[in-house]
Symmetry: C2
Subunit: 358 residues, 2 copies
C-alpha cells in the first residue's frame, strides 16, 4: 500500500465547547480517511480528505442489498493530555470477521490502525477533554458497484469518520429499564448476528421503537431458534450477577463478540470474581430472582461502556435489580474500564494505544 | 402532495441497441424520480431530475444501520407498441409493508404509481423492444439522517431508477442447478424475512458465493428454526409439482410475498391445476422423488419470471427433475405470464396497467 495522501480542509469548522452541544454521533471533524477497493486491484488510494458528502450512484449495491460493515471505537483524552485508543486491533480484526461474513475483502488491520492514528493526530484538537466525553471513531465499508443484481460487489469504499461525543446515554451510568422481546428476533444461528453489519441493526428498529413507546430503554433479545436463551440487549452484550457468579451468553454465532464484553471478562478473572460464558435462559433469571439471587444485570458496549439494568421485564415478571441502583460489580467495572481508557488507572493489560499528546 | 417538478437532462445518453449491451441492472435511463421525507413534514418535493449520483453524508443512517427497503418491477413494450406495467399496485403496497417492518414512513401508493407512470412515459424510448427485454424499475427508500446512533431515521429519500435490461439469467428459461443450504440461514420468524430490505440479501451473499463455486446457480433456503422446511430459492419463491399438485411454501413471515408467486397461484387455480400453500419439508421432496412423484420444480420472481430447476441437491440426494428439462407447467406459466406482460395474450385478470404508447 502506498503512503496516505493528505488534503487539508480550507474550511475548518468550530469545535463544540460543551458536552451538550456534542450529543452523540451528530457532529463530525474536519477530515476523514478513505480508500477504495476494486477486484483485481485490491485496496488503493488511501487518503485523508476534508469531511464531506459521498457521491454515490443511486444504484450503489450498499443502498439496495445491505453489503455494509462497520466498527465503533473511541479516542480518549486523559487529564495528562495523552490521547489513547482502547484495543483498536480488536476492532480491525473484528471488521475482518464481519467482512468475511458479508463477502467483503479483508482490510490490513495494521495499515488501518496506522491510518486511524494519523487521522486522529491530525484531528487531535477535536478530541474532547471533558470527563466521559471522547472522540467516537466509525470505520466502515460499503459496496459501491453501481449495479442492481444480488451478488457481492467488486468495488468498495473503506472510510473512517470521527465524531466528538458525549455519553451515548444522556443519563450516564444510571440504571435502565429493559424488557425481554418475545415477538421480534434479531438474529439466528446460521445468520449474520455476529457480524457488525447494517441488517442486524435494521432488524432491531421495530422492537426498539416499541420498547421506547412502553417506557423502556431497550429490549433483551432471545435466541432465534428456541426463543429461550438470552443473546443481547439492544446492541450490547448482557451480563448477570447470579449468586456471586457473573454469567454472560456464550458466543454462539448469533451474538456480537463485544470488545467491552471481552475486557469485562478479563477484568473479572483478574479480580478473582467467577465468570462463565454459557447459555442463559430467561427462565433462569426469574428463578434466581425469586430466590433473591439475581444480584445485578448490566450491558456492555463501546458507546456506553457499562449500562446497569435497574428493571427487567419478561412476560408477567418484573424484576428490580439492586433496588434499581447501579450495583457494585457494574460500578467497579465502569470505573476500571474508564480509568484505563482515560489514563487515570495503570493499564496493566496493555490495552491502550497512545496516539498523540494534546 | 404538490405536483411533480421536472428537470430535464442536458446530456442524454445513448441507448443500448442490443440485449447483450443491456445486461441486467447496469445501465440507467436519463432521469430518475425522487422525493424527500422529514418527520413533521411528511413526503415533500417530488421531482423528476437527471439521473446522477446522490450526495450523501458518510454518516447517513442507511450506510450504517441498514434502514433501507426496495421494490422491483418492470415495464414491458408489446409488439403493439403499448408499454405496460404488471401489477404495480402490488409493489407499492408491499413497499409499505416493508416500510412498516423497517420503521420507515408509508408512501402513498397511488401517488407513487402516478409518479412512476410519468417517469416511464418521459423515458419511453428507453423501454426495450426486444423479446424478453424490459425496463427494470427499482423504487427504493433510504434513511439519510447524518447521525450515528441506532434509531429509526427522521429523514428519507424515496427514489425510482430505471434500467433497460435483458433477461436476469443470461441463459433464459434454461433449468438451473440448486442445492439446499444447510449452514447459512437467510431469515427466521420474528425477523424481517418478508420485508424487501437490504439485510436479507446481505445475509444471502456468502451462501450464494459458495453455491457458485460449486457450480450451482443458487441455494434453497430452509427455515431458520428447524432447518427442515423450504422457504425460498435465492431471492425467489419456490414451487414444486408433486404428483399432479403444485405446492409452494406458505407465507409464514420469513418468506417474501412474491407478486409472481401470487400470480402463479392465481393462474394455476384458473386452470384447474391443484395448488396448495403449505409447509414443504426438504425430506418430503426426497421421498416424492424416490417414488417418481417429484415432477417439476421452479422458482418465481419479477426478474426471471419463472426459473425451472433441473437439478436439486440436498445432503447426499441429487434429484433430477423432468430429465433436466423445463417442465410443462413451468413452461405454461412462463408463456402465460410473459404473454400477459407483453400483450400477446389477453389480460383476463386485469393485471396490467397501460402507461404509454411508443
Amino acid at each position: 500500500m502506498t503512503s496516505i495522501s493528505v488534503t487539508l480542509t480550507g474550511n475548518p469548522q468550530d469545535k463544540p465547547s460543551t458536552v451538550k452541544e456534542m450529543g452523540f454521533g451528530k457532529l463530525f471533524t474536519d477530515h476523514m480517511f478513505m480508500m477504495n477497493y476494486r477486484t483485481g486491484r485490491g485496496w488503493y488510494d488511501p487518503r485523508i480528505v476534508p469531511f464531506g458528502d459521498l457521491s454515490l450512484s443511486p444504484a450503489s449495491l450498499c443502498l439496495h442489498y445491505g453489503q455494509t460493515v462497520f466498527e465503533g471505537l473511541k479516542a480518549y483524552c486523559g487529564r495528562d493530555g495523552q490521547v489513547r485508543l482502547f484495543r483498536p486491533d480488536e476492532n480491525f480484526n473484528r471488521l475482518n470477521r464481519s467482512n468475511q461474513r458479508l463477502c467483503i475483502p479483508r482490510i490490513d488491520p495494521q495499515f488501518c490502525l496506522e491510518a486511524l492514528k494519523q487521522l486522529v493526530t491530525l484531528e487531535k484538537d477535536w478530541v474532547p477533554r471533558q470527563e466521559g466525553a471522547s472522540l467516537y471513531i466509525r470505520p466502515f465499508v460499503i459496496a459501491t458497484d453501481p449495479k442492481l443484481g444480488v451478488k457481492s460487489g467488486d468495488e468498495y469504499l473503506f472510510i473512517i469518520i470521527l465524531s466528538p461525543s458525549g455519553a451515548y446515554y444522556e443519563s450516564g451510568l444510571e440504571p435502565v429499564k429493559i424488557y425481554v422481546e418475545s415477538n421480534y428476533v434479531r438474529a439466528v444461528r446460521g445468520g449474520m448476528g455476529e457480524a457488525k453489519t447494517g441488517g442486524n441493526y435494521a432488524a432491531s428498529l421495530a422492537a426498539q421503537d416499541e420498547a421506547h413507546e412502553q417506557g423502556y430503554s431497550q429490549v433483551m433479545w432471545l435466541d432465534g431458534v428456541e426463543q429461550k436463551y438470552i443473546e443481547e440487549i439492544g446492541a450490547m452484550n448482557a451480563f448477570f450477577l447470579l449468586d456471586g457468579q457473573v454469567v454472560t451468553p456464550g458466543l454462539t454465532g448469533s451474538i456480537l463478540a463485544g470488545i467491552t464484553r471481552k475486557s469485562v471478562i478479563s477484568l473479572l478473572e483478574r479480580w478473582g470474581i467467577p465468570v462463565a460464558e454459557r447459555r442463559v435462559e430467561a427462565q433462569e433469571l426469574v428463578l434466581a430472582y425469586e430466590r433473591g439471587l439475581l444480584q445485578e444485570a448490566f450491558c456492555t458496549g463501546t458507546a456506553a461502556v457499562i449500562s446497569p439494568i435497574g428493571e427487567l421485564k419478561w412476560r408477567e415478571h418484573v424484576m428490580t435489580m439492586n433496588g434499581g441502583e447501579t450495583g457494585p460489580v457494574a460500578r467497579r467495572l465502569y470505573d476500571a474500564l474508564t480509568g484505563i481508557q482515560y489514563g487515570t488507572l495503570p493499564d496493566e493489560m496493555g490495552w491502550t494505544v497512545n496516539v498523540c499528546h494534546i
